[in-house]
């Protein structure tokens, strides 16, 4: 029997399938199949692919679980908006008009594909789905889960005490509109980046600035008497749909919000001011996170922490939080945002079924589930545009030779990564000791701004030599959830993968993982790190199947492609 979890309608729709042993069998994001980045519509294509792959029906589906309580989610924002805004207000009208496109239509959408008369439909709490999506990978109990996101159901931040699998106590919440995630998104909007998309760009930009606007921003959001308060006078996300900050914030910061079409280039006009705003927002975010973590410890006395929600993708803040002296372990799931919540929802269904989870004591659920699923994809058409230069047996050796010759290799290898970070199966990789090659990869091929860092991948056995690693974050380094500081003795050998704040979002690889195998072969060529960035074009989702890979190769002008069947060179 299977448990089907679904997350949808807010951002990054996805589906997850857990089997009767509590194993993650498959996970798919709708954007991978529809090719529309951030696709939040009902995950129709992803669901159809799961139904076809596993012949899902009432015969083998134990339950379908939606990741939030749909009516509560919709009513909370509408109630707040009706209460606080004039009736002709944009947000109210938009919410009212879009009820039909919200999670309220879930039952209708799912019933087009599966027989709801015979399959129980369950609803998890939004933040509980996040908590369980982390608990699925890290099962040391008891522990405390901190969830920080924009908004879900009714809450924006939650602290859950996980005493056992069937006792997860909700001990503290911050209700809408008091949201750390929406604050960070509002500043992202102020800086001209897209909300729900550009937050990581703002994090990268923050490293170039000084927190000169910290005092001003601190007036707009603060933590007082164990409560998170947002002064909504400064933020229009409670009033408008087209803008998240208010004119009051513009008056307070005295800097004109950046127009999205104006390039942000290091050294050019206003770059410093915008970097300073980003740096200030990052500092405010980190300090409030410290307060939330301290409160979580005070209320539970736990030292093992789980951290999820969109804000947990802030790898820089994660590293700083890990330094809090009461944290023994800080664990982040590979997909901390809403798409990963589908895994939590499916796990909720599994736990409610009271079936025992079969855990192999030797296995690590995190490592085992980084690339789950079944991908039906064939590449026979590659014989037209490519020359196969090596079969699957020799492809790792050949790839290492190509990389040592300072070439960039794209990978579309087996199943895709669960989370937003490319961990080798959908990556563009090259020699991380070659700075000019990394610059070419980042700016010419991926068309990214220079202020955005490129991440390094390194074998576990070499990681300590190059980086100062936090022991309580070790799990997070397997999926790039946290940054680390490079050691001084080696930093000058890898400057291309070190960011302006002297950190790297390092990925630690095991020898039996794809990047680990390539790195092992590269050791005798004196290459110990790979530069690794996601295989996609800006504004496109990650490459999913072989057709996407070929299309992206053509668009990016890359020569080499590694798949599970061999290494190809473009004719």
């Amino acid at each position: 029997m299977y448990f089907l979890g679904i997350s949808s309608y807010y951002h990054d729709s996805s589906v997850a399938l857990i089997d009767a042993n509590g194993k993650l069998i498959d996970f798919k994001k709708e954007e991978w199949l529809s090719r529309i980045k951030g696709d939040k519509s009902f995950p129709r294509l992803a669901l159809i692919e799961l139904i076809n792959s596993f012949e899902l029906s009432e015969k083998n589906l134990s339950s379908i679980i939606f990741y939030e309580k749909p009516v509560r989610a919709w009513v909370t924002v509408l109630k707040h908006s009706v209460k606080n805004n004039p009736i002709s207000n944009n947000l109210t009208r938009n919410y009212f008009k879009n009820a039909w496109n919200s999670s309220m239509r879930f039952q209708m959408d799912i019933s087009k594909h599966l027989n709801l008369k015979k399959i129980p439909l369950l609803y998890s709490d939004h933040h509980l789905s996040h908590t369980l999506s982390t608990n699925f990978y890290y099962n040391k109990l008891p522990c405390v889960s901190v969830v920080v996101d924009g908004y879900g159901d009714k809450f924006c931040t939650s602290i859950h005490h996980i005493k056992s699998k069937d006792e997860i106590i909700n001990i503290w919440n911050s209700e809408y509109p008091h949201s750390l995630g929406l604050f960070y998104s509002a500043i992202t909007d102020y800086l001209g980046f897209a909300v729900n998309e550009g937050e990581y760009k703002m994090m990268g930009l923050a490293s170039f600035g000084k927190p000169e606007y910290y005092e001003q921003l601190k007036k707009t959001i603060y933590f007082k008497d164990d409560n998170l308060i947002v002064d909504t006078k400064y933020y229009d996300y409670v009033r408008r749909t087209d803008r998240s900050y208010s004119d009051e914030l513009v008056k307070l910061l005295k800097i004109k919000p950046r127009e999205p079409d104006i390039p942000l280039e290091i050294g050019k006009s206003n770059f410093e001011n915008y970097a300073n705003i980003a740096s200030s927002a990052q500092k405010v975010l980190e300090e409030i996170l410290f307060d939330v973590f301290k409160l979580a410890h005070k209320l539970t006395n736990e030292k093992i922490f789980l951290f999820s929600g969109g804000v947990a993708m802030n790898s820089s803040a994660v590293m700083k939080c890990s330094k809090l002296n009461f944290i023994n372990e800080l664990n982040i799931p590979p997909s901390p945002g809403d798409s990963g919540a589908a895994i939590g929802a499916a796990f909720f269904g599994f736990l409610k079924s009271n079936q025992p989870q079969q855990n192999d004591q030797q296995s690590n659920p995190l490592i085992e589930n980084l690339f789950p699923g079944k991908l039906k994809s064939e590449e026979s058409f590659y014989e037209i545009p490519f020359e196969k230069i090596s079969d699957s047996q020799n492809s790792i050796e050949e790839t290492s030779k190509v990389i040592s010759n300072d070439e960039i290799v794209a990978t579309c290898y087996g199943n895709i990564e669960t989370g937003p970070r490319a961990l080798g199966h959908r990556s563009l990789i090259c020699n991380a000791h070659n700075n000019s090659l990394i610059k070419k990869l980042s700016t010419e091929i991926k068309n990214r701004s220079l202020f955005r860092p490129t991440a390094p991948a390194i074998l576990k056995e070499n990681a300590d030599k190059y980086f100062i690693l936090e022991k309580n974050l070790m799990n997070s380094y397997f999926h790039m959830a946290a940054v680390a500081t490079p050691k001084k003795d080696f930093a000058d050998r890898i400057t291309g993968v070190i960011h302006a704040d002297n950190t790297s979002r390092v990925q630690i690889c095991l020898e039996d993982q794809l990047l680990g195998k390539i790195l092992k072969k590269l050791e005798n060529k004196n290459i110990f790190l790979l530069a690794n960035t996601s295989f996609n074009i800006s504004s496109d989702p990650m490459v999913y199947d072989k057709e996407d890979a070929y299309l992206a190769i053509e668009r990016m002008g890359i020569k080499y492609l590694l798949t599970e069947n061999g290494l190809y060179k473009k004719k």
Binding site: I36, G38, R44, I87, D166, E167, F348, S380, L551
Partner: protein, 247 residues
């Protein structure tokens, strides 16, 4: 391909719409490639998708060039957001065309829409050359004595691609369905295009009628919503809550 150019609309807005239309076509072609069995056909669809992606990029370049001249302001709605391709209806959220149409209907659609695209780009090229805004732009360009703005050239290169696509679609259609006639398909697509144009032209007017009605409903419903109390369960154990409740 769905195009809704309007002469009386801001030119930049038309370019934005064109870019979404091209993006939508790219997605449709990629979806077709994924379902094609023959390697040659697969590559053909991917090449077509590549052109459509390139056009999207080039149209953004045209847009950016126009804005850089300072005549127009970059409005937030001009910023490309992939999800707008669904919201604006350039891709149907209920399925790509290749999922919904039989091969003949799909090829008919591509063929006739490439024809319409060709004529729409013809229209846009004329707008760039003849409209008053472009004259102003030309003046600015002459002043600067640079040739930075390659809008005309870019559009011409897109036109060439569209002609190729149209030719290819025609060739494929005639080879595959030699006895068929396309007149009906042309008329159908043209009618749908006109209907869309009519809808967008009258959207503001329709809003004027419906907005007061909507406000009335919100006022009534808002009062009801305010009466809804979201229950706070006495048991703080989240695993003990009713999993069937939607509240």
């Amino acid at each position: 391909m769905i195009l809704t150019p309007e002469k009386d609309q801001n030119l930049l807005k038309s370019i934005v719409e064109f870019s979404y239309a091209e993006y939508g076509s790219a997605l449709e072609m990629l979806a077709a490639a994924k379902r094609a069995k023959s390697p040659k056909l697969k590559i053909g669809y991917i090449k077509h998708a590549l052109d459509e992606y390139r056009h999207t990029f080039l149209l953004h370049k045209v847009l950016s060039n126009q804005v850089k001249k300072g005549k127009w302001k970059f409005e937030r709605e001009f910023k490309f957001s992939p999800q707008n391709v669904l919201l604006k209806g350039y891709v149907d959220k209920d399925g790509y065309l290749v999922e919904k149409l039989a091969l003949k209907k799909f090829v008919e659609f591509v063929y006739s829409n490439e024809y319409l695209a060709k004529s729409s780009f013809d229209w846009l090229t004329k707008q760039i050359t003849d409209s008053e805004s472009i004259k102003t732009l030309k003046r600015i360009m002459d002043d600067e004595q640079h040739h930075a703005d390659d809008s005309q050239e870019t559009l011409e290169s897109i036109m060439k691609d569209e002609l190729v696509h149209h030719g290819m679609a025609k060739k494929f259609y005639e080879a595959k369905f030699p006895e068929s006639k396309l007149n009906k398909a042309f008329k159908r697509e043209l009618f749908k295009n006109k209907l869309r144009t009519f809808y967008y032209k009258n959207l503001k007017f329709l809003n004027k009628i419906f907005d007061p009605i909507l406000n009335f409903f919100i006022t009534c419903f808002g009062r009801i919503v305010n009466l809804i109390v979201i229950p706070v369960p006495s048991d703080k154990n989240l695993m003990a809550k009713d999993p069937k409740s939607i509240l």
